[in-house]
């Protein structure tokens, strides 16, 4: 894997074919929200349930993409990306809570007999500041954690364990009632966003389109990064950090940048996830959630950018189907998936496709 897989795959298949496939998927994704706007009895109508489900999976796909940037390119397996996702979600959720509460305190705070807002929630009634928080909260946390972690050259399983402990600590903190994050129930019962009713078809369609735009934008950004010199240095860092250092590079800055960027992408995905799904609670920070994101990436193929998106789609599609059809067996299937992917699909689905393509 000297070169990012996508590049080689794209070169092999010819740029035209890849572009056509991507364009078709994009067209379908843009058509879905428009079809949702059709009257409910129309034959091509897309139900709110399917739109929400696909929107949710798209948000997860952004997380997978962000994780691929750090794991696939820089070789840092994060088991704590759920924390960044949830932080973005919570910042957005608080804005939505303030919207539905009007001038008063959000319902969960008045329920606990709080009289004033904790300092860290100041200004969240403004959409702009809430958006800043969506970027700043995960970005700053990732920056500080990454600064210390990369300075002492924590990597490999050590890094994974520390990120897992980080998200676990975050979950404990957000579970508490007195910390002002809504406790066990989190934030829910949203009504309006920017004055528009949140469940209206038009709002849903807009949110969906925003998610598609973010996904497409991140993919493009990832692509550009991977092709740049920066991306090549990251790959070198993953494969032989010591040699890279002998060549005179300082890996810390590279790692810190990609790590923080990845966290911010997760935060944005979380912010789009919350208004579509309608709830955010601490279980999003559970270590289980973050480690599940790793299997999306592994299943799709690390370091391919497209693969993780496929992986997120496949695993979450399977999950939706399994939890309805055989709820008992979903964990067996997920566990088996972890084992099968690591044992038999080291390069993921994309690798499989590519191998088939070769004579």
């Amino acid at each position: 894997m000297n070169q990012p897989l996508t590049l080689t795959a794209a070169q092999k298949a010819g740029p035209k074919l890849t572009a056509v496939a991507l364009g078709a998927v994009l067209a379908v994704l843009i058509a879905m929200p428009l079809l949702h706007l059709l009257p409910a009895d129309h034959a091509l109508h897309v139900s709110a349930y399917s739109l929400t489900l696909v929107g949710k999976i798209l948000c997860y796909a952004i997380v997978a993409l962000a994780l691929d940037l750090v794991w696939g390119y820089a070789g840092l397996l994060s088991l704590g990306h759920g924390l960044f996702f949830a932080l973005g979600g919570y910042a957005m959720g608080m804005y939505l809570m303030r919207q539905s509460a009007g001038d008063g305190l959000p319902a969960f705070m008045s329920f606990l007999a709080w009289t004033e807002l904790p300092w860290y929630w100041y200004g969240t009634s403004s959409f702009l500041w809430a958006m800043c928080l969506v970027v700043l909260a995960p970005g700053l946390l990732a920056f500080v954690f990454g600064f210390f972690a990369f300075r002492s050259r924590i990597k490999g399983v050590y890094f994974s364990i520390m990120t897992q402990a980080l998200t676990f600590a975050g979950m404990l903190l957000f579970f508490r009632n007195e910390t002002g994050f809504g406790g066990n129930n989190g934030f829910t019962d949203f009504r309006t966003i920017l004055g528009f009713p949140i469940a209206a078809p038009g709002t849903r369609a807009m949110l969906f389109l925003a998610t598609v735009a973010l996904l497409a934008g991140s993919l493009l950004l990832g692509w550009k990064l991977a092709r740049s010199k920066f991306g090549r240095v990251l790959t070198a860092l993953r494969d032989a950090e010591n040699r890279l250092m002998f060549c005179g590079y300082d890996p810390r800055g590279y790692k810190l940048f990609i790590w923080t960027l990845s966290a911010v992408l997760c935060g944005l995905a979380g912010a789009l996830y919350v208004p579509q799904v309608g709830i955010i609670n601490p279980s999003e920070m559970a270590p289980t959630q973050s480690i599940e994101a790793a299997v999306w990436v592994a299943l799709g193929g690390r370091g391919t950018l497209i693969g993780p998106l496929l992986g997120a789609g496949i695993v979450n599609g399977m999950k939706s189907w399994f939890t309805v059809a055989f709820p008992e067996y979903w964990l067996f299937a997920l566990g088996a998936l972890f084992i099968i992917v690591t044992l038999f699909l080291p390069k993921g689905v994309i690798g499989l496709v590519r191998r088939r393509g070769e004579p």
């Binding site: 404990l172 067996f332 088996a336 972890f338 690591t342």
Partner: protein, 523 residues
């Protein structure tokens, strides 16, 4: 004729005390609830040993009255008159107790038990009176205190007395009581003194001042016990972390892989204990008390076998790819948890402490050391000793250490590294299984048991460094004690976060953990 008269008189005289007591049950049965309360208060202040059966029967709800309000005691198969030998008219009705009467009854019972021959009974009675004593009992307590010769009971009585004297009208008496409370180190005294000082309950300035001094004195005495208690629970938590992390440290040091399914080995060990308990209750109920001892080897072999099977089938194929191993073992852990959930149900299963593991040792008034936790601390150290012997005094241990230090060189010297990997993985899993037996004795046994410990035990490994027993021991006990000391100060959650932050900072200084293996290899 004369003699006959004398005889009757004598009989009457003999019967007199009995008759007087005999009135109690009848009195009580005839009284209204308000009058019953009065009677109970009176009995509490002036106990008489003959009244004890009546009070005990009342407390056990075994007293019934018939249509004539004659009191009876309910016994197996019938009713016996409490006084005289009347037969019940009609079906007797149980005497009802309300909460107030029940409280008064307990106080009265305690008063009566102050006269018991058994010091333990007197002690428990005095202790109950510390909480529920009534002003009318003052004289009684003073009298009993003088007659008491057991030091422990004396002390308990003193406290009960001082507690009552705090309500006395005379400031001098209150002052003396406050000083007395200050000299004891009882948790009860602290509450009482705090109440006295709160809300200006005490008006006399001198008494207030003395109460403040006494409170400080009591707090100082209690502080010692509290600190010891925290240190003990820290040791207890540390010993569990040690059992959980020891195997992890061995496999991580040897193979460089993190086994995410390690927590599930704890869980399987605990479920094995449950199975052993159920089987022994059915097959050998007379030896049931020793089921944890039987469970130890069984759990070790079960989890070791599962661990070795995992190593052979999955982990073996992922050598050199630690991150993939992490994901694969996570998948295994999901499957194990769900399998247990399907087999045993999602609810916790019941694992009971045998008699010799329940209860505790009272060291200080506010410090009880539970036997099960003490045994587990000892057990953890014992397991560490065994592991040390195994790693340092046997051929297997020599090979394990050789492979840990340099796999290629060991293989060149003829060490069968594949076999060693498998055995070491089995050993690590088996130790986790032993930890599971220990955990089943102090906590709930459910499918998610392992998940709660896995992150903490990883932190132990990270902090302690790999392949070093001493590192694991220091890190486990250090983390356990730090957790328990921070918990009451800043809360369990903030404590955990602070510890995590400290570990990250610590790794800045010592990236290889507390005890690093010396080596010249760079990846």
């Amino acid at each position: 004729m004369n003699t006959a008269l004398h005889r009757i008189l004598l009989l009457l005289l003999l019967a007199l005390p009995w008759a007087a007591q005999a009135g109690d049950a009848t009195d009580y049965a005839h009284a209204s609830p308000a009058r019953q309360a009065k009677l109970l208060e009176h009995w509490a202040a002036a106990p008489a040993p003959e009244r004890l059966p009546l009070i005990e029967a009342l407390r056990a709800n075994r007293v019934a009255i018939d249509q004539d309000k004659t009191p009876f005691i309910e016994e197996a198969g019938g009713y016996r008159a409490l006084e005289g030998d009347a037969e019940p008219v009609g079906t007797p009705k149980k005497l009802r107790l309300n909460n107030r009467l029940r409280g008064l009854l307990n106080t009265a019972l305690a008063s009566h038990q102050l006269f018991a021959d058994d010091p333990a009974q007197r002690l428990s009675a005095a202790k109950r009176l510390q909480r529920s004593g009534k002003p009318e009992q003052l004289a009684l307590l003073e009298q009993r205190l003088e007659a008491e010769d057991d030091p422990a009971v004396s002390e308990a009585l003193t406290l009960a007395l001082a507690n009552l004297q705090l309500d006395a009208a005379d400031p001098a008496v209150r002052l003396a009581a406050v000083r007395l409370l200050g000299e004891t180190g009882a948790p009860m005294a602290r509450v009482r003194l705090e109440n006295l000082l709160a809300d200006e309950a005490e008006t006399d300035a001198a008494v207030r001042k003395a109460a403040e001094t006494s409170l400080a004195q009591v707090k100082r005495k209690l502080l010692f016990g509290e600190l010891l208690g925290q240190a003990f629970s820290g040791l207890s938590l540390g010993s569990i972390l040690l059992l959980a992390a020891l195997g992890l440290a061995i496999t991580f040091g040897l193979l460089g892989v993190i086994n995410m399914a390690h927590g599930e080995m704890l869980m399987l060990g605990a479920y094995t204990t449950y199975m052993v308990q159920v089987l022994m209750a059915r097959l050998a109920p007379e030896a049931l008390a020793f089921y944890p001892l039987v469970a130890l080897p069984v759990a070790f072999f079960v989890t070791a076998a599962i661990g070795m099977a995992l190593e052979r089938t999955v982990i073996r194929h992922l050598y050199g790819r630690p991150l993939e191993t992490l994901l694969a073992t996570w998948g295994i852990s999901l499957i194990l948890i769900q399998a247990v959930r399907v087999l045993f149900g999602a609810q916790n299963v019941e694992v009971a402490n045998p008699g010799w593991l329940s209860g505790g040792l009272q060291v200080l008034p506010n410090l009880v050391l539970p036997y099960n936790r003490m045994v587990i601390i000892g057990f953890a150290l014992f397991v560490v000793l065994l592991t040390w012997l195994l790693l340092n005094k046997t051929r297997l241990g020599l090979n394990v250490r050789a492979v840990t230090q340099n796999r290629n060189m060991a293989a060149c010297c003829g060490v069968p590294t594949g076999r060693i990997d498998m055995l070491a993985f089995g050993l690590g899993s088996g130790i986790a299984g032993l930890g599971g037996v220990a955990l089943s004795q102090i906590g709930n046994v459910g499918p998610d048991l392992g998940q709660g410990y896995i992150i903490d035990s990883f932190l132990v490994v990270v902090l302690g460094g790999v392949g070093q027993l001493a590192g694991s021991i220091f890190a486990a006990f250090g983390l356990g004690i730090a957790n328990k000391i921070l918990e009451p100060q800043i809360g369990a959650v903030l404590g955990k976060i602070l510890i995590l932050a400290l570990i990250i900072l610590f790794i800045q200084k010592r990236p290889q953990g507390l005890f690093a293996l010396k080596g010249r290899v760079i990846d």
